[in-house]
Structure formats: structure tokens, C-alpha cells
Symmetry: C2
Subunit: 207 residues, 2 copies
């Protein structure tokens, strides 16, 4: 890989962290360029030309073209750098890991996102918040953490017997929920607590 | 493929339709078994053993194991039946199609889903609806349809110069929004209207 491969990123936002952890697990060094999304730097014509949705992360390839959406970027990196394998070795495993990654994303990460959006002061004045709705989403998050805790009984990791993209998605989701919406893993969910400690102590978690 | 490959499905729900269209484009015949989700048939212990989230669709494989999450099922079918290609031929195209499929899913489909959940009588009494929040999501849907219309200028399809999974996701999203939340493509979005007519007249759309 050319050292010029650049990731438009943000220090706190969870989706750029997903890609940074994914790349770190593979030993890929990306040139990070921080985009100040709270100041609207992702809404400039220059940035919208890279990604018309205005989201980060965006990966700028050697040919100058840009790829967005965190999981699409991860799949591209996996194709270039197959090891450490994070998306599955054969078709059945790939499908199973995608299943669990989507469960973590659509059920857990999305519910945490809605909780943050509707209850955190960071979004006040940015759009209309519905705090009461946000609290229903917080309750949903705790239901889903409880289920996740049950599903981890007898399993070290979310999707497989090894660390995969599904663990990354769940980690960034839970961590941003803790940071911006005071979501904490209940101490009685011992399997989930253990999983969180395990994945948090991997060096990639600092990426 | 064994003719015993079964898809747990639902006639109206959009995610099973995604997989049915995907399979129809490939000429794969699935044995459909309807799950009455409105009557809670997906919450029985038998069904939860197939998919602990209770969602449909679920693909039951020849070995009796089950795969859930529509896009994971699609990826598995693509691996077994590479043609008609719907997920991309090379790595760069695969990443780009995944990018657009996620855009259609996370921005359009999800916003339509929240509009339906919070404004449609079909969900009344099933959980607490926030109609005012639902209307903000409806407004978001129309913003995203408008952007989608702009992005289709000069493009016949959403992600590529040919029909892909991203078109399927957008089609099922828009159609369920029309059916349950009175979402209509504004007539001035001529490129989007044309796209919708094109994809709706493919035989697979009836699947």
C-alpha cells in the first residue's frame, strides 16, 4: 500500500474508530486527517465531493477516488490485506460474521446512536431532540446488552471463536454510549463485562 | 442447491422481500415459509432458536443450520450462485456497491422504517409511538429522496451501471414507505421516478 492512503477521520466519532481499529489489527498505517464535523467541515463542497452524504470516515485511494461507509472501507482493506482475517475465511463464516456484525450495528449501535442523539447535550440545537423517545431507546439498549450478555455465554467473541469486525462494531458502540449517554454495562452481565475487558485491552482499541 | 433450502419469510415485511428479489435475479428457487410476525410467531422458542433476534428473513441451510440478516443471506447466495452478479465483480466494485447499499439502508430504509414505526396504525399499541418524531423522520426521508434523485442524474442505477443489491434495498424501502406511511416519490424527481419504474418492471420485483 502506498503510504499516501488517507483516512478522513474524527477523534471521537465511532465510525472512524471502527476503521482505525480494523486497520490497526492488520498493521495497516493510514494517514489520518481529522475532519471537524461539529464545526461543519464535512459539509463543505470539497468534502461533499468526496462523500455526498457528508459522513466520516472516507478513505482516499491512491488514484484519488474516495470510498466511504465504514464497513465498505473495511471490506476493501480486507481484500488488500487478508491478514489478520476479520471478515471470515470461507463463505459460511463470512456470512455468519456479517450476520453478527449487522446485529451489532443495526440493533445495538443504532439504538445507542439514537439514545445519544436524543439525550446528549452535544446534539442540542443541532436538530430537534425528543428526550422521552431517547429514553425508550436507552431502555432498548439495555435489553440488547442483556441479550448480548446471554449470547456470549460459552463464546469468547461475538461472531466466532476469534476477534472479528463484529467485536469492533460492538466495542465502538458501547464506548460511545458510555462517553456521551452514560450507558454502562450492568455488572451482573459478567460475560459481557469480560468480553469488553478482553477487546479493550487489545492494542488496536487505542487506535 | 438442494430444493430443501428454506426461507422463513413474510409477505409484506421489506427485509424478506430483499432476499426474495435477490434470489429471483439469480434464478434461485427458495421454499418460502411464511412467519406471522404480527401474531408473534417469530417470538416462539422454536423460531428464536433459528434467530435469537426474532427477525425475518432466516435461511435454513441443508445442514439444518440457520443464517439470518438479509444482507448476510444475500452474500451467502452470491457465493453459491455468482450469476447474476449483484455484489460486485472485483474488490473496488464490491466496496463501492457495499457503500451504496449501506447508504440506501442506513439513510433511506432506516428513516422510512422509523417513519412507519411512529406514524402507521399497524404499530399502534405494539410499542410507544412518537408521532411528532415520526414526522421529523418523514421529512428526512424526503430530503434523502431528493438527494437520491440528484445522485441518479447520469446513472441508470444506484451503485453502478447495472442493477445491484443497492437497487433492491432502495426499492423495498420506498415501496414499504408507500404502502404503510404514504411516502411518494415527488413527481419533480424525474430521475428517481424513472429509476423506480425501471427496477419495478423487472420480473424479480414481484418476488
Amino acid at each position: 500500500m502506498s503510504p499516501s492512503m488517507k483516512l478522513y477521520s474524527h477523534a471521537v466519532a465511532p465510525n472512524p474508530r471502527r476503521v482505525r481499529i480494523f486497520a490497526a489489527e492488520k498493521g495497516i498505517e493510514l494517514v489520518l486527517e481529522d475532519v471537524d464535523i461539529l464545526a461543519g467541515q464535512n459539509r463543505t463542497p470539497e468534502f461533499l465531493a468526496k462523500n455526498s452524504s457528508g459522513g466520516v470516515p472516507v478513505l482516499e485511494l491512491d488514484d484519488g477516488s474516495c470510498l466511504s461507509e465504514s464497513v465498505a472501507i473495511c471490506r476493501y482493506l480486507e481484500g488488500l490485506y487478508p491478514e489478520l482475517n476479520l471478515l471470515g475465511r470461507d463463505l459460511r463464516e463470512q456470512a455468519e460474521i456479517e450476520r453478527w456484525n449487522r446485529r451489532m450495528e443495526l440493533e445495538l449501535f443504532a439504538a445507542i446512536g439514537r439514545t445519544v442523539q436524543h439525550t446528549s447535550s452535544i446534539f442540542q440545537g443541532r436538530f430537534k431532540q425528543f428526550p422521552e423517545y431517547g429514553e425508550t431507546q436507552r431502555a432498548l439498549v439495555y435489553q440488547r446488552l442483556e441479550r448480548m450478555g446471554r449470547e456470549l455465554v460459552g463464546h469468547e467473541f461475538v461472531a466466532s471463536d476469534r476477534f472479528t469486525i463484529a467485536d469492533i462494531t460492538a466495542l465502538v458502540a458501547i464506548d460511545i454510549g458510555g462517553r456521551l449517554a452514560d450507558i454502562k454495562i450492568p455488572p451482573e452481565l459478567t460475560h459481557l463485562i469480560h468480553w469488553h475487558e478482553t477487546v479493550s485491552t487489545r492494542p488496536s482499541a487505542a487506535a
